[in-house]
Every structure is written in structure tokens, then in C-alpha cells.
Symmetry: C2
Subunit: 446 residues, 2 copies
């Protein structure tokens, strides 16, 4: 039976389980590599393969989009568009209880994000009006993974904040479910609940290219958001600049900090929940308690046996998961800030006393009741959060991601007279005499 | 004498002067290409050259950083660090009047950005505490161009919003002034005024690599901001993800909308001010008035003769500048929104009546007094704004660029009991039974 490993020293953990690979260090799996070589007739890196796919879709539009969907996802489509009838059918084929659960989740996500403040402002002083006009983006594209799995929660967690921001056109792309020609029913049901404008049954780098540059069926969007696999993220990086990219999502991570007061059964359950995402997922426990570490290790082994995804979990346990013994909670916090996890869960006697020390984390889950699995589905804040240490500078997906600012400049004669000469002095110093002239001509006119 | 061209139809302008090249379509100049071939011993694209420089700095730290500074900027340095003494010397060697002008500019930039709202919030409901913790980034790197020119205003426009956000460590990188071993005095003076933490006398892709990955002298930063040339921007795109990148700045653009009421002398002066930045700069006038178009054309030719940078201006006039005749102001606004300019200047009889129609622009300058040159130096809002149509999704540099969000999740037993079963239902539907188990184990405990 696979074990979750206990690291006796922080130093050892730092050189192993706390290390993350950057996007450029990630390889396609051996199977994917073989497949790439077959598809392109020569061995290509994922980066090169993605560049070719993007160039093809950019040049050949829908034809290329559908051809790549056939080659990579095995679905033979006439059009990339998910029709209204298909969405209705997905809704009808989704069990009532699940539809209600998704609706509740949608309501809570909306309620949370509506509390964000993001208004325009203006400040009128004597003869001056300066401010920031804050407006929603006009068209955004949300990537929802599909194929093997179905992620209606991800659709809700991205589309609803976009809607709260006031984005008039919300596109969703998602690859067809394995062996079908649309995304899964439950994903279609979520699209209906979220009220997305248009959905496309395509995924991968080809879908990112279509969103970035447009095709006959897909109008190009202003920004692309959402999680995806290696090809999707490499494509996002390649189109960055032609289109807005909120972040480059990587494998998911959870870091738990727990002390002797924690319930080992629940700590183990949380580690396993995180580890089941995929074999690249990281589930880490930092604890000063050897007793807790050992009990959790046993619990993990016991609970694992009964879980359907035990193969995937065993895969992640062998890679990016582990229990690290720390000196005390201060050291745990320090390590957590350095690691900058996507999710940080505090399962200690007094979790609130630690919140102020958290500097880098996508989301902080305070106490035993607020487990990450609840946050993944229903608490309210979007579950799309910065991974791979990008919580150093990135934020969870939020309403602000769907807004843009225009600065407003209006000054009167008084400000011009008072500050114009100084502006012209700086312009001269920068060697921009035409700038200085534009100001001085105005000063002469006053 | 070079002319600013008048385009009789919008269609013609759309296929010529209103077209912009994407980052991937930009070539190095023939001289730069020859230089690259010499430096690398083989012809490389700018993208490839940048990748090599980044890899070298990443592997070899300061040694590589200084070697590239020598090869590309001609400065032989012992250390990339600008010392305090060098900054003091720069300050002392900057004329008093210029120091005062920069200080006034700094005060106004600070006053504007302090008015931005960006606080954390929390909402306590029965047994729930949800919210967003908003915190400053810990270390940011600001790129200030140098070499041939000096841009103290850019330093102020980036560093002061960072300071207002509360960023504790603000790094500035700027290449040495031509023939010197530090940036220009006036840039050093601006660094002193803005109170930057540390300044480095390096530029180009090598400086971006040092900020992204760190060297012995440069600690890696969390986010890089500021304008730069082709190599700098390509480097920003390549390191995106390892470090935050606010946007990919391109050549500067100004679009003026003017009617018969506008003063042709000032319109011409504004077009020339914009055209003097560099030969890639775009200065465009949209007007329904043929009379204004023709008078401005004459004024441009006349004013140009007396300007020191007339060669650069002639270069941009021949490329991305022009006067486009439109049917009416509505058509001008429509075209402006499609073009999404960095700067949009409204020189019409009633400019405020047009502001509501502006959808895509970095900054909007309302009326004749609020000219862009004033905004470049002293009005207050940062002059670093989205270019190359990225105003569709990007914003001017503002305080928010220096902040990050952590979502706060805390729920009580009541919320768990009420929504936990539904969360577990969705988890089951997604095939994440360990997620469902983590929730159900908690429900059993209540």
C-alpha cells in the first residue's frame, strides 16, 4: 500500500516535496510524446506543438479548430458551437438533486462576489476632474476542462464573477466528453445556470487559439481565464499580449498546518481529497506534532483503500505529497509563506491567531469546518486560485479580473498655469521638446 | 518636408495607419539583426536571442548580467548595484528647477493614486466569515528605459503607485546612460524622490532575467512593470508565470478626436509631441472637418521645422501617423473604441458629452487644456498605459497592480450542515469521491 511520506527535516522537504517545477521544466508524458511525434511526423516539444496548433487555427479558422478537435479529442464535429438544444438536453439529463446543488453553489458564488467593491470614482477639485472609469470587459473566454472528467463547479466559479462584473458576452470552451460530441450533461447544466452567452465544444491549445484570434464561429475575446492542462497553459502563455491572460494555472496544491488539537481522520481526508485531483497534485501537511504525523500517515493508508481514485492518489502520494515535521507553528507559517500555496488550511487550536501571519496564499481556510472541499464547491469565493508559487503576486479569480480601468484627465486653466511650466521643464530634461512646446503653446494662450 | 498624410476614407485608414503589428510580427532593425548575428555567431530572431540571454543570466547570475551589459550597452561594471553615493551625486548634479518639477510631479502622482480604493473586506454572517485580504506585493521590479535617453517621469509614474500600495521593496533597473556607468543624473534624482529601495544599472533582457530569477546582487522580485523596447518586452513574455507581468508594453499611441472648434495649432503640437517619442509612435487625428484636417497638416509641417527631434518625427509621420476624415463624431468614437488607443484626446466643442461613449482607452484627456503632454508629466494618473489595443482588457498602471488578494474561507457548523450535502453531491458528480468523503466525515461529526 502506498504511504504518505514523513519528512523529518524541513531542509529535506525543501529540496524534494516543497520544490516545484516551472512551466518550462514540465514534459509531456511519454505517451503524449509518442502521440505528438505521430501527429506531427517528427518529435516536438509541447511548446513547439502548441505553437503549430495556434498558427494553424490562426491561419485556417474553424477548419483547423475542428481538425485538431478530431485529432486530439477524437470528436468529429460539424461546428464547434454548443447549441441551445444541446444545453437544454444536458440540463434535462442532469439529476434534479445535482441541479439544485449547482444552483445553490451559483447563488453563494454570486453573493460572495457581489460584495467586492469595484466602482469608478471621480474627484472634482477646483477646475480639475480626475478619476478612474472602471468598466467590464466586453467578451471573455472561460476554459473549462473536459474530456475524461466534468467540472461544472469550475464553470460556475469563473462565469459567475464575470457576470457580476457585468461582462455582456461570456464564452465557455470545453472539450467534448470522451466518446461524445458535446461536453458532459452536468457541464451543460452549469452553463445554463450561469447564463453563459455561448459555449463551444472544443478544448486544448486549439480552443485557446480560437478565443485569442477568432475563427468563423468564435469571435475573438478580450481575456481568457480558467484552469487547463500543460498544452492549454503553454497556449495561454503564447497568446498573452494579443489577449488578456489572468494567470498560468498549474497543478493544484494544498498545504495544511495542523497541531496536536487536529482530528487526524479529517486531516487525512483532506490530504486525500487534494491528492485525488491528478498525479501532479500536491497535498502537504506541516505539523510540529510527531504524534499527529504518524496517526495521519496511518489514516491516509486506511482511508485510501476505500476510495475509487486510489490509483491517482497513489501516484500523487509518490510525488508531491508529504508530511513535514516542523519546529513550531511559526516555522510552519514561514515555510507556507515561502511555498505560497494555492490553498492554505489552518487546523490548529486557535487558527484565527495565524491568519495575520499569512502573506502568500490563494485562499486561507480557517478551522476544521471550513475544509477545502467545501470551498471547492459551495462556500462562495471562486475556487480558481494562483498555483505554483504565483500567490506571491497573483490573486484568486475575482470580479476585478473582468474589469478594466480608463484614467480620466481633465484640468482647468489654473492647474495648467500652476504646473505647466514644471511639466515643460521635465519634458526638456527628457529631450522631448515637442512635449514642452505643446504645453508652452497652451500657456501662451492663457 | 515630410507631411502628415490625410486619409480620405476610414476603410483606407483601417488597412494602413490603423493597423498594428503584434509582438511576433516585430522585427529587430537590420542593424540589430547584424549585431545579433555577430554576438551569437549565427543569425537569431529577437525571440531566440532573448531566450539565450535569459538562460545565461538564470544559470550564471551576476557574471552573465554584467557580461551582457558590457556586450549590449557598452558599460564595463564591477557590480550592477547603483550605490547610495551615486544616487546622491545624481541628485546634486540635477538642476534645482528640475528637482522641484520632479518633486511636484511626485506629489501629484501620489495624491491621485492615494485616492484609489483597495482595502480588504470581511463580511461576518451567522457563523461565517468570508472576505478578501488585500495585501501589497513584497518586492517589485520597475523597468525604466535609459541608454540614449533619460526617463525620470517613468520612474515616478511606476514607483509612486507601488509605494502608495505599500510595497516594502521597490527595485528599479535602468541601463547606464550612453558612455557612462550609471543611469543619467536626472533618473537618479527621480529615484531619490520616489524613495526606491534599490536601483540597478542594467537593462535589456538581461535585467528582466535578473529580476525574474535573481542573481547574487539582485533578489528575484514578485512582479515586473514598466515600458521597454522589443527585447525587454519579449523577455517579459518569456518569464511570465515565473514572475508577475503587468502587461506587454508596445510603441506609444495617441488618438485625437477633434472638430471644427479645435485650435489647429494645438492639435498639430499634440500630434508632434506624440510623434517625437520614437519612429514607431503613432499619432492619429480623427476629424469630420476637412478644413481642420488641412490646416493641421500645414501646421504640422510648419512646427516640425523648429523641433530638435525632427528626424524621429519625420520617421513616425511616414509610418503610424495620419489624419483620418470621418463622417461625424460618432464614427470617430466607434473607430477609437475599435482601435483602443493608449491615449484618447477629445478636442471638441463639448468633449464631456463624448466621455460616456469611450469604451476602450488607457486614458481619456478631456478638452484642450488637458493635453497628453501634461498627463505624461504632472497631472497625476500614471502615464504607463495599455498599448497595442490591449486597452480592450488592460488598465493603466495603478495601485491594484501592486496588490494581491487572498480569499478568506471560514464557515460554521450551520453552513456546513446546510450546504455540505449539496457540495458532496457536486463532488460525486465530478468523480471526486475523496472530496465528498472529506465533507461527509465532517457532517457525521456534527
Amino acid at each position: 500500500m502506498p504511504d504518505i511520506r514523513i519528512f523529518e527535516t524541513v531542509e529535506e522537504a525543501k529540496t524534494t516535496v516543497l520544490q516545484r517545477r516551472s512551466l518550462d521544466e514540465m514534459d509531456a508524458s511519454p505517451q503524449a510524446q509518442t502521440r505528438l511525434a505521430e501527429l506531427f511526423g517528427e518529435p516536438l516539444t509541447p511548446e513547439q506543438a502548441v505553437a503549430r496548433i495556434i498558427a494553424d487555427v490562426r491561419a485556417n479558422g474553424d477548419d483547423a479548430l475542428l481538425a485538431w478537435t478530431y485529432r486530439l479529442d477524437g470528436a468529429e464535429l460539424d461546428s464547434p458551437i454548443v447549441t441551445k438544444a444541446e444545453i437544454e438536453r444536458g440540463w434535462e439529463n442532469t439529476p434534479r438533486e445535482l441541479r439544485q446543488a449547482l444552483t445553490t453553489a451559483a447563488d453563494r458564488i454570486r453573493a460572495f462576489h457581489e460584495r467586492e467593491q469595484h466602482g469608478s470614482w471621480m474627484d472634482w477639485q477646483t477646475g480639475e476632474a480626475l478619476g478612474q472609469i472602471v468598466r467590464p470587459l466586453e467578451r471573455v473566454g472561460i476554459y473549462v476542462p473536459g474530456g475524461q472528467g466534468a467540472y461544472p463547479s469550475t464553470l460556475l466559479m469563473a462565469a459567475i464573477p464575470a457576470q457580476v462584473a457585468g461582462v455582456p458576452e461570456i464564452y465557455v470552451v470545453s472539450p467534448p466528453a470522451r466518446g461524445q460530441d458535446t461536453p458532459a450533461n452536468v457541464t451543460l447544466a452549469a452553463a445554463r445556470i450561469a447564463g453563459v452567452t455561448r459555449m463551444f465544444k472544443v478544448g486544448g491549445a486549439q480552443a485557446i487559439a480560437a478565443l485569442a484570434y477568432g475563427t468563423e464561429s468564435v469571435r475573438r475575446v478580450d481575456k481568457i481565464l480558467g484552469p487547463g492542462g500543460l498544452f492549454v497553459v503553454l497556449a495561454m502563455r503564447q497568446v498573452f499580449g494579443s489577449v488578456g491572460i489572468a494567470g498560468l494555472p498549474g497543478p493544484t496544491e494544498t498545504l495544511l498546518i495542523a497541531d496536536d488539537s487536529a482530528n487526524p481522520e479529517l486531516v487525512a481526508a483532506d490530504l486525500l481529497a487534494q491528492a485525488e485531483h491528478d498525479v501532479l497534485a500536491s497535498a502537504l501537511l506541516l505539523t510540529p506534532s510527531r504524534r499527529l504525523a504518524e496517526t495521519v500517515q496511518k489514516e491516509v493508508a486506511e482511508q485510501l483503500a476505500g476510495l475509487p481514485r486510489h490509483k491517482i492518489i497513489a501516484g500523487s502520494l509518490a510525488r508531491g505529497c508529504g508530511i513535514v515535521l516542523v519546529r513550531d507553528l511559526d516555522e510552519a507559517l514561514e515555510l507556507a509563506n515561502e511555498y505560497a500555496p494555492e490553498h492554505l488550511c489552518l487546523l490548529t487550536e486557535d487558527p484565527w491567531s495565524l491568519v495575520g501571519q499569512v502573506r502568500n496564499a490563494g485562499g486561507v481556510f480557517v478551522g476544521e469546518t471550513a475544509c477545502e472541499a467545501m470551498g471547492d464547491y459551495i462556500v462562495g469565493p471562486s475556487h480558481i486560485m494562483p498555483t505554483g508559487q504565483t500567490a506571491r503576486f497573483g490573486s484568486p479569480l475575482h470580479v476585478r479580473d473582468f474589469l478594466k480601468v480608463t484614467s480620466l484627465f481633465s484640468i482647468g486653466i489654473h492647474t495648467l498655469q500652476q504646473t505647466g511650466p514644471q511639466a515643460a521643464t521635465i519634458a526638456d530634461a527628457e529631450g522631448f521638446q515637442a512635449h514642452a512646446a505643446a504645453i508652452r503653446r497652451r500657456l501662451r494662450g492663457t
